[in-house]
Structure formats: C-alpha cells, structure tokens
Subunit: 341 residues, 2 copies
Amino acid sequence: MGSTCVRIAIDAMGGDHAPNEIVAGALRAREELGVEVLLVGDPQQIESKLPPKTNLAHVEIVTAEEAIAMDEEPLSAIRRKPKASINVAMDLVKKQQADAVVSAGHSGAAMAAALLRLGRLPGIDRPAIGAVFPTMVAGKPVLVLDVGANVDCRPKFLEQFAVMGSIYSQYVLGTPEPKVGLLNIGEEDCKGNDAAVRAHQLLKEKTQITFIGNAEGRDVLSGHFDVIVCDGFVGNVLLKFAEAVGEIMLQIMREELPQGVRGQIGTAILKPNLRRIKQRVDHAEHGGALLLGVGGICIISHGSSQAPSIFNAIRMAKEAVNNQVLQRIQSQYQSVQQESG
Amino acid sequence: MGSTCVRIAIDAMGGDHAPNEIVAGALRAREELGVEVLLVGDPQQIESKLPPKTNLAHVEIVTAEEAIAMDEEPLSAIRRKPKASINVAMDLVKKQQADAVVSAGHSGAAMAAALLRLGRLPGIDRPAIGAVFPTMVAGKPVLVLDVGANVDCRPKFLEQFAVMGSIYSQYVLGTPEPKVGLLNIGEEDCKGNDAAVRAHQLLKEKTQITFIGNAEGRDVLSGHFDVIVCDGFVGNVLLKFAEAVGEIMLQIMREELPQGVRGQIGTAILKPNLRRIKQRVDHAEHGGALLLGVGGICIISHGSSQAPSIFNAIRMAKEAVNNQVLQRIQSQYQSVQQESG
C-alpha cells in the first residue's frame, strides 16, 4: 500500500455515463497517474468498453452482480443489494484489497455503503461530504463541508467538520495553516441562527484549528478562507448553485461573444484564452467530493461525470492515500479527543 | 398618489456612498422616470451634492437630524434615534406623504424601521426580503425570498412568502402564472430537513399559488421557476454568493482575456459584446431587494450602491406603487386567509 502503487476501486456501474466514461477515465488514470484500477461491476459490460488492444496490466475487473439506480432510496437499496457495485467496491477497501473508492453513482447510496461497510472514524459523530471549490485566487481552492450528508447539524458536528477539513486542506491541498470559516449571514460573532451562534463559540475555543470567523456568501470564493464549514442543507444548495453558475456563465459567454462580425472575429482570436477561462470555471475540472469521517478514502463524483471528471477524482483519491489523510485524521482526531475530553 | 406622480422617500444618508451617489441616482430617476423624490437627511449635506443649476421641481429635501451607521445594532438604533433618516422616510409613507421608501443603508435597520413604523400586513406572520436574480433566460428574472429577514422559518412563513412572492411576480415582474419552487436539496417530496418536508406539503396543498415542486441549487437560475422560497439563512448566503460570483466571473474574464498579443487584439474587438455580458451578470443592474409583508413599499438597496443601483431601486419602487402591489397582497392575502381559515 501507500506510495508503491495505489489501488483504487472504481464503481464502474455508477453515474449517468456508466460504464463507458467511467472505464475511459479509469484507464487514463492508470496510464498517467500510475495507479492500479479495480473496475467493479458487470464484467461483460466493462470488457465491452475496453479498447481492443488494452494492456491489462494494472487493470482488474471485479464482478458485482447488481447496481443501484439513481432513483432508489439509498439506505434500503444498499441493504437489499449486498452485491451492488458500490457495496463490492467498499468491501474491497474494508478487506484492504483497495486503498480508496471512486463512484459517480447515487451519492446517498455511496454514503450509506461507506457508513455500513467502513463505519465511522472513532470520535466522529457524523461523516461529512466535502467539496473543493476554485476561488478567485488561481491555484488556491477552498474546501466546503458539509455539502449534503447532514441536513441538520448540531454545533458539535460543525466543529468536527472543521477539524477534518483542516487536516485535508493541510495534507492534500497543501495549505500550511488552513484558515477556517463558519458560513453565516454576517461577520459579527452574534449573527445567524442559534446553531450558528453556538458553533461560532465552539470553533473560537478550538485551539487545534485556525478559526478566523464567519464567512458570508460573498466570502466563499474570495480565497481568504481555506476551509468553510456549514450544515449539509445550505452547503448542498451552494454547491449545486455554484456548479450551475459556472455553466451559466460559460453559456452567456457563448451566446454573447460571437454576436456580430466583430464578435465572430474576436472570439476566434481569443480561443485559447477562452479555454483557460473554461478550465478555471468548469466544475468537471475539479474532480469530486470527498467523504470525510468514514473508515476509508471515498471520492464521490458528480452523477454527470465523464472521463475527465473520473480521472480527476482518481487523482484526488491517490493524493489522499499517499498523504495518509485517513491516518492523520484518525491520529490527530484522537489527540484532539484526548485534549478536549 | 398612484399613476399621477409617484412620490419616493429616499434615505439620502444610507449606504457606503451616501449622500453623493444616492442624490445622483435620485435626480436621474426624477428626470427619466417622472417620479417625485423626497431626499431625507441632513439638508446641508444634501444641498451640497446637488449640481449648481439643479431644477428643484419634484425634488424635496426633508430634514432628518440623525443617521444609522452600518455597525449599529439595528433594533436599538431605530428606537434610540427616532429622527434617523430611515425612520423619517418611513414616517413619510405612514403619513401618506410618500408612496414608497428606498434605502441603501443598514438593511436590518430598514427592516426594523419598517416593522415599527409601518407594521405587518394583516395575516402575515413575518415580512420577508425578496431579491430578484437574473436567470439564464434573458429577461426572465426569478424572485428569491427570504434573503435575510428571518434566519429560522416555520413552514407557515414559507407558505406566506410564496403567496406574497407570487403576487409580486405577477403584478410587477409581469409573470402571467408564477411558478413557485421550494429551495431544497433534492427534487423528491421527501427530501430535506423536517421544516422543508412540512413546507413542501403545505405549498402543495395551497391552491392559490402554482407550486411546481422543490428547486435545487442548480435550478435557481435555470429560468424554470419564477418565485423560490427559502429561509433567510440559506437565502442570504445564496444572494451574497451570487453577487460575488458575478464579480468574480467578470474579474476572471478581465484577467484571462487580454493575455498575450492575440488576447489584447481579440479583447479590443469584443468590447461591445463584453459590455453586454457585464450587463447580464452585474448585480448593480438589478436594483435592490424588496421588503414584502409590511404596510408600505420598501426597497432595500445594496450598501455599496452607486447612482445606477439607486436609479434601478427607484424604478422598482415606482413599478410596485403603480401596480398596487401592497393593495393586491393585502386583498389577495385576506381572501387567501378567509379561504384557508
């Protein structure tokens, strides 16, 4: 395990473009990132998507007889279908045959499978889904969590998100001393609903993180914060809004820029610059969300993921494994527990 | 009153650029929209901002001896300073000497002043702040409420927001049959926290509005919804995020487009097209937020408002007065009350 050759279990049946795009992204990651990929799902379907002369070194197909559809109720589906691809992928991590899971399938199902198969880390009440947003400072992303696992959050949960998020930001995103913010409706300590006021107080007292105060909606992408904690309701709304807004901006540009003769000429000349803008804005460039607080590295990609997103998600998984995120959360969280307990 | 000459009381002392930009926006509105403006504040300061040969027809200066600073606690400041410009402006509406109030000052203070001076409309538990967002469909805005007045919302409040928002959308924004959505984290009826599930049920049963279901973050700007209701916490985060995102997109374009020789040439050629993009994205083009559920028309502009925003806010106020929004909410809300009671 570790830096020799990271093994990633990939839910080949999950997502709108499964298995085609999932397999394509996995093969590219195997090639370019030097990881070993375990494609979990229906062998016939997966094999039919492999290009004719695929070199099968570092590719393994693991049979899973079922899959979970996007419209199934996650918890009952996970229980009813033990042989579903996402369950089989989680089991590979549990049995230490893989180091991480990547899935673009039903995110609720992935969360449920992770909880049931891998369990929570000791000291963590609720796992959180973290999403990495690009900010207006190029190369300086912000990690927002929770973006959908917990619709109601007690202040204590937000405090745990802050600890886990800081570790991820420091060891995977490479932020020396991650600045943590609490998503809120004003800068002042007393702002927000009751849960926000109490969470602010808890975060302020937490010496293991660098809490710099409330972050308003306008601050999320400013680059001043490295980690922003919030409940899964507002985080989910924000994530989906942000993803859509990037697409909308690109569409407005596509509509307005080529208008008129000048527009057509100018747009043709600017093609490479426009491509750079797309890269900075497009959420597909930024991989997937990560599940923090469960006993394994799990990356949950967008349901609409195509090969580039899967590739980026696998890259994230590899980074998390190589940088021992799990072990660091575990040990640091345990020390946090001891100090605060 | 009414369509003869609408009289707008303007808090000349409120906002980061008061009184200069406020006065400038008001004078332009007087000129171009044919409204009468009552500039409320320190007469000396206001007069010094009037251009030398200002025609003083349809401009009145109303003395207010105090002002409320952005960092004051709103409710106590409103009570402690009865002669503050925002209080005096509200009183003008109460005494029917003005038809509406526009303020770019402390939004909490404007809300408190409206509540204390004008009161709530009968049948409304909590007034809401509504904000008009542009959508990806040009010319088809969406009204989101509440964006900050109520950090915790009972399902009943959300139902009232839906009724008020539908009326505003229909009679001011000109939507024939406004489609209402509930901001939530999934499309299914059962999604979200407890408050969201119960609000969904209430909205579904409400025959006076056209409720089409949950709106996810990605749907806010899609143009499929005309009115979206949410609690003031998530609404405020979303509003501030959306405002910032527009600015960030424009900045990324300013950074990336002119890079290199091709970039400089292409950007120069595209100048008019880029201006159109700015207009579609910039929140200053879209006026202010409106306070729905109090006994008067109140438009709350952004604290950073400059003359164009103030002009647009005054235009919104004029539309709301001419289209009898207040009377329609009152009468329709009373009929709603009777039917449901």
